[in-house]
Symmetry: C2
Subunit: 87 residues, 2 copies
């Protein structure tokens, strides 16, 4: 893998793995997540977990790192969804 490809993978992975952060911030700030679909984040978490495994299989560092990060943010978002939806 050349450096250019790795860089593009890192930029792409940074976007897809940080995408949930604005939602997380909005939810924590407004303390409501009624309109947010929990199923979205469950499926996303399943996906990012399998992508992490795929990254290990293909020895692809950008895929591994960004998907581990993405899984952690998604788990946090799921907690917030249920915390603020039960009110």
């Amino acid at each position: 893998m050349n450096i250019n490809e790795t860089l593009i993978g890192i930029v792409a992975g940074t976007c897809t793995s940080t995408a949930v952060i604005p939602q997380l911030v909005k939810t924590i700030k407004e303390k409501k997540a009624e309109d947010v679909s929990p199923l979205m984040f469950f499926i996303l978490l399943t996906g990012t977990s399998i992508w992490t495994y795929y990254g290990f299989l293909k020895d692809d560092l950008p895929i591994i790192v960004t998907n581990i990060f993405s899984s952690l943010v998604t788990i946090t978002m799921l907690f917030m969804k249920f915390r603020f939806s039960s009110k």
Copy 2:
């Protein structure tokens, strides 16, 4: 790339690219998306677009196909967000 790896990539990509669908269905059904962060979907779209490019660079079909699909669903979700938030 062996068949097992391709299969795992397809499963992972199917999850991450279909994740936005439950949110899209919920938004269309309830006709409101006030709690949904538009920035999340903008960043996601940027990410899936660059992942598509990365897939072409690495000749990785699961990455290409799933990220093109994901981009289309995310664009649709952005339209719905602004349609139902302006009401």
